[in-house]
């Protein structure tokens, strides 16, 4: 509460910028955030440049609580628009306005079970952070990472180091198995030993992984990615339809998530108009065939 006020938002200094394959990484000096951060949480960064006003959310990839800087956090990102382009131009000593850590963390298993981590693209980043914690807790970790191409597979070396087994898939076959992560995890479930799945990546991947896990009655925790305006729970922008108390409610990915129980997310309803609940808005009709509804 008020005692923590001020510690959630600060102007932090860039300690390092580097490239990791197709991705970029920024490390910030942020002892308070490093102290409180847990795998699955994210930070929200103020970006500058051409009329861009909203903060950009990024998963926390790595945290160091020691060393000369008293504490640092690292994020990994892909350049997809003006905000990430601006971030990719930062250099050491630049400062960024950061709010965080935010959101719900990946819950640690309560028992000694095998953990399967499934990541797509930069979704691997928070999972590698999680893998470290699971290893520290002496849990078996298996990792499956998928991407479109080899250079978009995030940090395969670290994935190998942090797991009992690591499998890679690329959609163009440039590295590892040709195909998608869902093509390989089915077999891994059948082999047994997996008690919980953690996944992070594109929404369709999370939906597919959740379905497979559900079929095998295995617990699945997914870190979802919904566009966010505030990132702190006040604007209702980032909602995901979610089963709760026998009902479906729109829960906020930024505070009730981003980590959600994959079996409770109503994947088919994402982006669907709930019947009888149209408060505002009209719809594009056939009058404008150029526009897809």
């Amino acid at each position: 509460m008020a005692a923590t006020a001020g510690r959630c938002g600060a102007t932090e200094e860039v300690l390092a910028y580097r490239r990791i394959g197709a991705y970029h990484s920024l490390t910030f000096v942020a002892p308070d955030m490093a102290e409180r951060a847990r795998p699955g949480q994210f930070v929200s960064l103020g970006v500058a440049g051409g009329g861009t006003l909203l903060r950009r959310p990024f998963s926390i990839y790595a945290v160091s609580r020691h060393g000369p800087w008293a504490g640092t956090i690292e994020i990994v990102f892909d350049v997809v628009g003006p905000g990430t382009r601006w971030l990719s131009g930062l250099v050491k000593h630049d400062v960024v306005d950061i709010v965080g850590p935010l959101g719900r963390l990946f819950p640690m298993p309560q028992q000694q079970v095998g953990c399967l981590l499934v990541g797509g693209g930069y979704g691997a980043a928070p999972l590698l952070y999680l893998a470290q914690r699971l290893q520290q807790a002496n849990l078996r970790v298996d990792i499956v990472l998928g991407a479109a191409t080899q250079d978009r597979l995030f940090n395969a070396i670290e994935a190998k180091r942090l797991s009992a087994s690591a499998v890679f898939t690329t959609e163009d076959g440039s590295y590892g198995t040709h195909g998608r992560v869902t093509d390989v995890i089915e077999r891994m479930f059948k082999d047994g030993g997996i008690g919980v799945v953690y996944a992070c990546g594109p929404m369709p991947m999370l939906a597919a992984v959740s379905r497979v896990a559900q079929r095998h009655r295995i617990a699945v925790q997914v870190a979802v990615e919904e566009a966010m305006a505030c990132g702190v729970g006040v604007c209702m922008t980032c909602v995901v339809p979610y089963r709760r108390d026998g009902d479906v409610a729109n829960v906020r990915a930024c505070v009730e998530g981003p980590v959600l129980n994959g079996r409770k997310v109503v994947w088919d309803e994402i982006g669907r108009q709930p019947v009888g609940d149209v408060a505002t808005g009209d719809t594009a009709t056939a009058a404008n065939p150029a526009l897809r509804p």
């Binding site: 509460m1 008020a2 923590t4 006020a5 001020g6 510690r7 959630c8 938002g9 600060a10 102007t11 002892p31 308070d32 103020g46 051409g50 009329g51 861009t52 006003l53 909203l54 903060r55 306005d97 709010v99 919904e226 566009a227 966010m228 305006a229 505030c230 702190v232 729970g233 006040v234 604007c235 209702m236 922008t237 980032c238 909602v239 995901v240 479906v248 409610a249 729109n250 505070v255 309803e269 994402i270 982006g271 669907r272 108009q273 709930p274 609940d277 149209v278 408060a279 505002t280 808005g281 009209d282 719809t283 594009a284 150029a290 526009l291 897809r292 509804p293």
Partner: protein
């Protein structure tokens, strides 16, 4: 760390010699900084960033009679210096809000302005009835920028007669001052404001979002699931300043709560110079939840 302990700011503010109080008709606020409905929820999530009790008042997210799940995602699209939203008034409904949120706000001791939204005139009246005599509630903001299902979904605040009807019904049962929150998407906003005041509103809140739309040219789909949505942010500030100025010219004695694109203290001061009594900061809560504590003094310094 550059973050400041807001408690320190608070005591500095309170012990300050500057009198920051503003009178909105019969309603006196300690300072002119309020929140704008919709991006502050009811404050629980914001509390860890600054001391809510130092706000002039909290204007909560619009409440409806029944709980609402809102519209499908995507609900938001960023635009040049602004954003479009189509949330669809997701909220827990007035009953649950009164049971869980109001006591919490009341405990903080901050004046609460309750925003209400209905689909019909009757719903607004029923909402106002729920709020009769509720402790801590110092005013009602009737968000009449909502479609009227009894009139082909024409937004209430787009018509002087619908505005008059809603405000009459609300003021008839309300035990606190009523502010009408108007949409700028009208030919004559001063005329609508006059209708609201004639029907008993103490003042008006200006402005709600502008209706806007954005299309992703690659997918050829509207960027919002609801197709159109409300435009907010610095992009619309000139429209807000103009609306406040026009209404203030037409109704110089009517208190105006100004909002629209406010990010900085200077923005609040600009709306106050245009004629507003106080300024609602919405954007700031989204982008910059921390750091509000210097705002009230700054605005007062600039305007007086």
């Amino acid at each position: 760390m550059t973050a400041v302990d807001p408690r320190a700011g608070a005591s500095r503010l309170r012990s300050d010699q500057v009198d920051l109080r503003v009178d909105l008709g019969p309603l006196r606020l300690d300072n002119p900084i309020v929140t704008a409905s919709g991006c502050f929820a009811s404050g629980r999530e914001i509390e860890r960033f600054f001391d809510i009790a130092r706000l002039g008042a909290v204007v909560v997210k619009s409440l409806t009679l029944e709980p609402r799940g809102g519209l499908p995602t995507p609900r938001m699209a960023e635009t040049a210096s602004g954003m479009l939203n189509a949330i669809g008034l997701q909220n827990p409904g007035v009953e649950q809000w009164l049971a869980t949120e109001l006591p919490w706000l009341q405990a903080l001791g901050v004046p609460v302005v309750v925003s209400i939204a209905g689909k019909t005139v009757a719903e607004y009246r029923m909402l106002a009835e729920y709020l009769r005599g509720q402790p801590g509630v110092v005013a009602i903001e009737a968000n009449i920028s909502c479609p009227n299902v009894d009139d082909r979904n024409v937004v209430f605040a787009c018509r002087a007669d619908a505005t008059r009807e809603v405000i009459q019904q609300v003021t008839r049962v309300a035990t606190v001052p009523v502010f009408a929150k108007l949409t700028p998407d009208v030919t004559d906003i001063a005329g609508i404001a006059e209708a609201a005041v004639a029907a008993g509103a103490t003042g008006v809140s200006l402005i709600n979002t502008l209706l806007g739309m954005a299309i992703d040219v690659e997918t050829r789909r509207p960027k919002l699931a609801a197709v159109t949505g409300g435009l907010s942010g610095p992009a619309i500030k000139p429209v807000a300043v103009r609306a406040v100025h026009q209404v203030h010219q037409a109704l110089p004695d009517v208190p105006i709560i100004g909002m629209g694109g406010v990010r900085t203290v200077t923005d609040v001061a600009e709306l106050m110079l245009a004629g507003a009594k106080c300024g609602g900061r919405r954007h700031r809560d989204v982008r910059q939840p921390a750091g509000r504590h210097r705002a009230a003094r700054g605005a007062a310094a600039l305007v007086r």
